[in-house]
């Protein structure tokens, strides 16, 4: 039921550090906040091309994590409804205008035998 809220309509923008790439704001498809160690993946497909996880970071309330750090982070959470920043690198700077942004979130939920999470895909316009 939360899938449609994963990719935020607003906030899609170029990176703050001037490198090629961008930032998309994302929400967790779940009804409670979750300790980051249980966030198994936040995968991004930009304009049909998967972005390698190593080229992304996830920022929750100001704290930035590489994907391989999430598993051992038991002292920070991604809150329910919180807009996290999924920053990513690309080879070339993003073209102005619309992009196809697909995000899949995989969560490890202790009372469920199968992985939790969800996926969403939206066309977003790069903030100028």
């Amino acid at each position: 039921m939360f899938d449609q809220y994963i990719v935020c309509e607003e906030g899609f923008r170029a990176r703050d550090d001037g490198r090629a790439g961008g930032v998309v704001e994302v929400r967790m498809p779940y009804y409670r906040g979750l300790t980051l160690s249980m966030v198994e993946a936040v995968d991004l497909v930009l304009d049909g091309r998967p972005v390698p996880p190593a080229d992304t970071t996830l920022t929750v309330h100001g704290n930035t994590y590489a994907p391989d750090q999430l598993g051992r982070t038991t002292d920070d959470r991604w809150e329910m409804g919180e807009r996290a920043q999924l920053a990513f690198l690309t080879d070339e700077p993003l073209a102005p205008g619309e992009h196809d942004v697909a995000v899949a979130v995989r969560l490890r939920i202790s009372y469920m035998p199968v992985p939790g999470g969800g996926r969403d895909r939206k066309r977003l316009t790069l903030a100028s």
Partner: protein
Amino acid sequence: MSLEDCIRAAADCGALGIEVIPEQSIPGYPHLTDEFVDTWHGWMQRYGTHTAATDLFLDTKRHPDRWLTLEEQVASIRQDVDIAVRLGARIVRAIINTSPEVMAAAAPYAEEAGVRLLLEVHAPFHYEHPWILQHLEVMYRTGSPALGLMPDMGTYVRRFPRVVSERALRDGAKPELVDLVVRTYDEHGDTHALMDVVHYRGGGPADFGLARQATHYIWSEPKAMLDHMPLIGHVQAKFYEMTDEGVEYSIPYDEIVPVLVDGGFDGHLSSEYEGNRHVQDAFPVDSVEQVRRQHAMFARLLGEQDPVLPGAGQTTTGTGSI
């Protein structure tokens, strides 16, 4: 809706007992600031409400590479008991994956804190299931006043929720297969091979999803609760659709409430609305109205003129819950 909005809306319904999921509603969990706690109690005072219960989760799979030890699991429960105490709750929902051993090991701490740990009996579990029997064995053997049960009324789904079957139709399910699934469920027929049959009949993803749903719902006689009334300290009043006529479409509360009254139950019936996810694709969701109707129904079934009753409105009206 803000958390305060939820509390105000519950109070407006006459639902004065508030059940809260800290991990959902309290940013920063498990660290509650004194400021948050003061704010919470301020709201309770302002709206004439009280904290009926908190809901705990047990993240046995917190680490990618190993299961939490028994000690770590008990520590997690203790932390949630402490939070319940700070929020003024005397009841904590223990999630269904909490093992009987963890309940036994956590009971003394809860007892000392004056809090009851109630195992949520959630579909497809029931009082004859080995998992629940093991829990009952612990509860009866230890006789701990801190342990008990919190039945979720999703265990008493007599009719297939039409909000679910109608959603399947909107998602492209075949009418005749939807009919087959609903009919099989409603006759409490064999749902075991229902997915196979839906498949043999050419069903697609929406049909499969519906058939799978039919294996998740269960119906059993509400009177089964009478055998365990001393253990039942709270009820999660799951519901899918309060109709314009003021009844729940799937769950026969007109049979459930009298059973609880007969059994001398004096806890809360805590609204847990789970229809939103099934109608949000096509209709505006009015969770508050749904909760209001459920509480009006409780008042009617309890023979109360005055809609102010001991029932509780969960703060989680807009979201799902287990």
